[in-house]
């Protein structure tokens, strides 16, 4: 078997293996969020409904169907991307997602990219100065970052940059061009970075610090290579697998779940906000779509991460 067909075979086997995983994940998420989720009947019916009206509505919502029928219908809808209409607004779920996902991507992407780069930089500094003052300061900052409640960070940033200094809008997403975009995304990006920095720095530092004692780093030092080159080429380069995996695992959050708290607090019409609204109101078509697509995307991400790991490091395959 040629190397190319071996890779194709691997990809197909991994994708086939993802199918039962997707079925399992969607079944659990269906049971938790839809079957055991809120019942919207009485939120959608008028003040003094007749028994017939209540029964008609329940039938229309599918509440009178057995769980297996409802799950099969859910899978069918998910597969055909016929996601129905939101119960609360009547808007098609597809158009809701098409409207909100780009907003969430634009909102969270800068925080994800800058946050990852900054975390890598700080982790590299800490790893290089392992045990030193700088390492201790960065570690302490990371712990503080992990301990801070995101809600407190959001309210604090909003108050400081929006109300007190008045540099950025307190809320909203009136984006009509690049300047507006930067204006609206600055504070949420800062919040996202603060929220993720501590965890990322701790993780990356642990990975990089372990590599600092390796033979190749000692050899590179012996050759007289500079610290930046050693760190980028020999330390980070050798640890791309865990770094890429961690970043990839953030993508489902970025694309589907959005950033629920950030979007709610800053009044940004992204997918996180509609998910939050759907959870509190029990709007099942939206919940089913978001949870189902998140699950599918997560499984795909795991599969892609796995394949990438094998491509980047052939030893993974051999193991």
């Amino acid at each position: 078997m040629s190397r190319r067909s071996a890779r194709l075979d691997l990809v197909l086997r991994r994708l086939a293996g993802a199918v039962p995983l997707i079925l399992g994940v969607t079944l659990i998420s269906f049971l938790l969020t839809v079957y055991f989720g809120p019942d919207q009947t009485y939120a959608l019916v008028g003040k003094n409904p007749t028994v017939t009206e209540v029964e008609q509505l329940r039938a229309e919502l599918g509440y009178d169907q057995p769980v297996l029928v409802r799950y099969m219908d859910y899978l069918k809808r998910l597969t055909t991307l016929d996601l129905g209409h939101a119960h609360s607004t009547g808007e098609s779920v597809r158009s809701i997602l098409a409207r909100t996902i780009p907003v969430s991507v634009l909102l969270v992407a800068p925080g994800l990219i800058l946050g990852t780069l900054l975390a890598l930089g700080l982790a590299a500094l800490a790893a290089w100065h392992q045990g030193g003052t700088l390492d201790r300061i960065i570690s302490a900052v990371s712990v503080v970052g992990m301990s801070l409640s995101l809600v407190v960070v959001l309210i604090g940033l909003q108050a400081v940059f929006g109300v007190w200094l008045g540099w950025f809008p307190v809320r909203g997403w009136a984006v009509n061009g690049p300047i507006d975009y930067l204006h609206h995304v600055a504070v949420p990006t800062l919040a996202f970075m603060i929220a993720t920095l501590g965890y990322n720095v701790r993780f990356f530092r642990a990975v990089l610090a372990a590599e600092m004692t390796s033979e190749q780093v000692r050899t590179a030092r012996a050759f007289g290579l500079g610290p930046v080159r050693i760190m980028i080429v020999h330390v980070i380069g050798s640890n791309l697998l865990p770094i890429v995996t961690r970043v990839l695992f953030s993508l489902p959050l970025l694309v589907i779940s959005g950033s629920l708290l950030i979007e709610s607090q800053f009044g940004i019409p992204g997918v996180g906000r509609i998910t939050f609204g759907a959870i509190t109101s029990g709007d099942q078509p939206i919940l089913m779509a978001v949870v189902g697509l998140s699950a599918v995307l997560f499984v795909i991400t795991v599969t892609v991460a796995d394949l990438l790991c094998r491509l980047v490091d052939p030893r993974v395959h051999q193991r």
Partner: protein, 593 residues
């Protein structure tokens, strides 16, 4: 080389983002209004809450509306030319419409809004009875209009005539009632009754809820989960604003600078942005940043930050200096209800046990301390009164004894002792609440007070629910025995609160308590057909006394709303009776140029 690539990439991103610039140039007079919730559907048939109502009454027309400044609330014609002609028996109403046009929309054959006709009014009420509509407002006219219920039951044939709901000509609507319905005109001022064009319903189906087309003062430009942008509807024509007719009183309203609006045509602004901000801190920050929303209904927990005294109610001097202010009662009430369907503490077939159960409920009521509740959770800003007819209604009875709202632990203990309620005999009761910190604190306060008169703490069991919807469902399905609820009046008439105790309205209807009292029901039926007047007022008060005497509820309290708005805005905000009519009269003075 990598640097060049990165620069190119950044430039490309900027180009893409610039290309996204599709929002039209900002008009000049913009008012940014904040509300504390998100409207669901903007289809009038679903506009049963204040958030949807605020938008719907401004996008669509209702036959009647409330006068801008008159309190108590008074109806005035809106799409209707005048008040209707009413037959001597009070059963036939004839309405004449004024000339109005729907906003332009692709749903119309030439894209241009057509004239609103009597057929549109008929269609808009009739569709509530079509099961496809999934109406939340059909209950308003059920069994009230001749032939309407049967039309819905028989398949809702659009070609079929309804004897009691007809268009006599393009501008005349005739409604024939099955029995007198004194609140009919109030229902025709509700967002649920707003007039919709059949073409738009046919064109957009369920998406009409997010693509509304009406003949109101504004038309929807865009809508998402955080805001709605509306612009003035160029087809909207009404007589100029007559402040005196709207209830202007210099002693009450002169400070708001409304005189300059007199005689002007409305709407007075080009663009209305309604922002949906459920998070109190976010609403607060947006208002006080000076560049966000133009108004703020002060969150209750922040009241002390804007007030210098509660009695008399005074805003802080700096707040008075920097903003316009208004304080007024909500048109609603907050109270505890008992699940009367639970024989352990509610109705019982054994008359002795029935009396014992009543004594138990009354003892719990005596043990509860409204004063403490008001001070701890409402900063003393609530008004506590006996029964369920609030003081802002004409039918309020100021002479009613106040013992039902007084904290009297001694009386509670005595009642329990007299009816043999020992700690062992007292039933376990489930106290339901939606799981917020505040609701949990309210439960703890309630339980401590009840425990103080000898009710075992472990027998008052908390049951939290993840959302208000779930909590509401649990009340309807009888899963909780004691529950705190708020009730907002959709029209200013005690009928709206007393219907909560009418037997045929038992859960899932408005009678969440499952209160069953044939005397009450008979009296309610009589009162419901009477026109406003001393006779009806007396019946309403008698019904209120029955609710108090039977200890069905512990209540009530009406909260005080505190409103702030930027001085550049000329208005008097109003969030009550499920309306938002005032937005058509809002003006901004130093608008963006």
């Amino acid at each position: 080389m990598p640097l060049r690539r990165a620069t190119l990439l950044v430039c490309l991103m900027f180009l893409v983002l610039t290309a996204c610039d599709s929002e039209p140039e900002q008009p000049q007079r913009v008012y940014r209004h904040a509300i504390d919730g998100v409207p669901g559907s903007l289809d009038p048939a679903h506009a049963a809450n204040i958030y949807a109502s605020t938008l719907v009454v401004n996008i669509f027309d209702t036959l009647y509306r409330y006068r801008y400044l008159a309190r108590p609330y008074e109806l005035t014609p809106n799409l209707a030319e005048d008040f209707p002609q009413v037959s001597d028996d009070g059963l036939v109403f004839t309405f004449r419409l004024r000339e109005a046009r729907f906003a332009d929309d692709p749903a119309f054959s030439d894209g241009r809004g057509r004239v609103v006709t009597a057929d549109d009014v008929v269609f808009s009420i009739r569709r509530h009875f079509d099961p496809v509509t999934r109406s939340q407002g059909a209950w308003l006219w059920r069994d009230r209009i001749v032939g309407l219920d049967a039309w819905g039951r028989d398949g809702a044939d659009p070609e079929a005539e309804i004897a009691g709901l007809r268009a006599l000509d393009d501008r005349t609507v005739r409604i024939e009632l099955t029995r007198p319905y004194p609140q009919l005109l109030e229902t025709l001022a509700m967002a649920l009754s707003a007039v919709v064009p059949a073409e738009a319903i046919a064109a957009y189906g369920r998406e009409f809820a997010v693509r509304p087309v009406g003949s109101g003062p504004f038309q929807l430009l865009s809508l998402d989960e955080t805001r709605a942008i509306l612009e003035a509807n160029p087809h909207f024509q009404r007589d100029p604003l007559d402040l005196a007719a709207e209830g202007f009183e210099p002693s009450l309203h002169a400070r708001y600078g409304l005189e300059s609006l007199d005689g002007r045509r409305y709407p007075l602004i080009d663009r209305l942005e309604i922002q949906f901000i459920p998070e109190p801190t976010s609403r607060w920050n947006s208002f006080f940043s000076g560049r966000g929303v133009d108004n703020l209904m002060v969150p209750p927990e922040q009241a002390t930050r804007v007030l210098s005294s509660i009695e008399p109610l005074t805003f802080q001097p700096q707040i008075e200096r920097d903003f316009q202010t208004y304080a007024g009662p909500e048109t609603g009430l907050v109270f505890y209800g008992f699940n009367m369907a639970n024989p352990e503490m509610g109705h019982h077939e054994d008359p002795v046990r029935e009396r014992d159960n009543r004594a138990l409920r009354c003892a719990i009521r005596d043990a509860f301390d409204w004063q403490a509740r008001n001070e701890v959770f409402y900063h003393g800003l609530g008004e506590v009164y006996p029964g369920v007819i609030p003081p802002f209604l004409r039918e309020y009875d100021a002479a009613l004894p106040r013992d039902s709202i007084e904290h009297d632990p001694a009386a509670a203990r005595q009642r329990l002792a007299e009816h043999g309620w020992s700690a062992e005999r007292m039933p376990s009761l489930v106290y339901g609440f939606d799981s917020t910190i505040e609701r949990r604190q309210m439960f703890e306060q309630f339980r401590a007070q009840i425990a103080d008169v000898g009710y075992p703490r472990e027998k008052i069991r908390p049951l939290g629910f993840g959302s208000f919807g779930e909590y509401h469902r649990a009340i309807i399905q009888g899963e909780v025995d004691i529950f705190l609820i708020g009730w907002t009046l959709a029209y200013p008439d005690a009928h709206y609160s007393l219907q909560m105790f009418y037997g045929p309205n038992a859960a899932p209807g408005a009678n969440l308590f499952n209160y069953a009292n044939s005397d009450f029901d008979a009296l309610f039926r009589t009162a419901a057909t009477l026109p406003p007047g001393p006779e009806r007022t007396e019946l309403y008060r008698e019904l209120n006394r029955m609710v108090i005497d039977d200890c069905v509820v512990i209540g009530s309290l009406t909260r005080t709303r505190l409103h702030l708005w930027q001085p550049r805005v000329r208005m008097l905000p109003d969030r009550e009776v499920l309306s938002g009519f005032f937005l058509r009269f809002v003006d901004v003075q130093d608008f963006d140029s």
